[in-house]
Symmetry: C2
Subunit: 196 residues, 2 copies
Amino acid sequence: MDQQILPVAPEKSYRLLNHGPTVLVSARFGGVDNVMAAAWACALDFAPPKLTVVLDKSAKTRDLIEKRGRFAIQVPTVAQADLTHRVGHLSLADTPDKLARAGVELFGIEGHDLPFVAGCSAWLACRLRPEPGNQAVYDLFIGDIVGAWADGRVFRDGHWRFETADPRLRSLHYVAGGHFYAIGEPVIVPDESDDV
Amino acid sequence: MDQQILPVAPEKSYRLLNHGPTVLVSARFGGVDNVMAAAWACALDFAPPKLTVVLDKSAKTRDLIEKRGRFAIQVPTVAQADLTHRVGHLSLADTPDKLARAGVELFGIEGHDLPFVAGCSAWLACRLRPEPGNQAVYDLFIGDIVGAWADGRVFRDGHWRFETADPRLRSLHYVAGGHFYAIGEPVIVPDESDDV
């Protein structure tokens, strides 16, 4: 694999989520690792960078996050569509070998004791910002982004490079019932923000 | 224009945002209409349907929403990339003719006194759920979706039809500096959620 995992500057880390991809959420606690899919993840702030993610009360990964206070968000690729759908529908509660059955391979990043999913295009290490009201009422979790990395083949110098990368590295955007869309072609408009 | 605006069932309304498009936020108060762009909007719940949107304190539209307690979220198209970028960078505060300069045409939907943006692919009428803490600390606004409609050419029977519609109707996914991606091609995996 010629993947090259490069750090992303904190002030650019929102760009990994800005285009609205479906993500994988992972967490580790008490010797248990789990991974789930989430379509409802969103950037929340530029600096310090923050994000939101909606985690259903039935999700085992949510339980791990609440206990550990840390989690990872990663951007899966078209090549991982089946994996993404499987981790979104299998539950560790009744499928102890969920990760193996979904084809998930985990890896580590130094300084962050979290289960990162191999083969993704970007990874965000997050620290849970305890907001008991939001968590209980809305299933809404807020994380401070404390580390960010991307696959240099598809995100470098602060920008996604989907148009020149292998199409299997494009991000996934879930609708329902196993139907995703891949991200498509660039649309560039003159950036007149300083002129008008 | 052969656009046909069809109602979307409340329980399917999350699908209008599920794939993570950049949206337009609009509001009306005291005889003033405004429209802004937001990349940070996200579904929050299926039923009753809710969404989140991040609105900077400098945004005039935010002020209208806080006063009125209602707003609209709409999904702009590739054909509206320039419009979307302009409403995202011009401010009503120093550009009183912002909407005209951005090429925004507004229309009404019966029963909802809100400024809806013509030419979009989907529209959501929202009632603000007052959450002063989230609004003040995180610029995070929660809305109950009280009405949903879509352009039948590109969303019908509860599903986006980007692959068969005019490519100019595809959704926009903003990155930065005038760079968007259009949504791309479908990726379909077997939906085994009931089997495995």
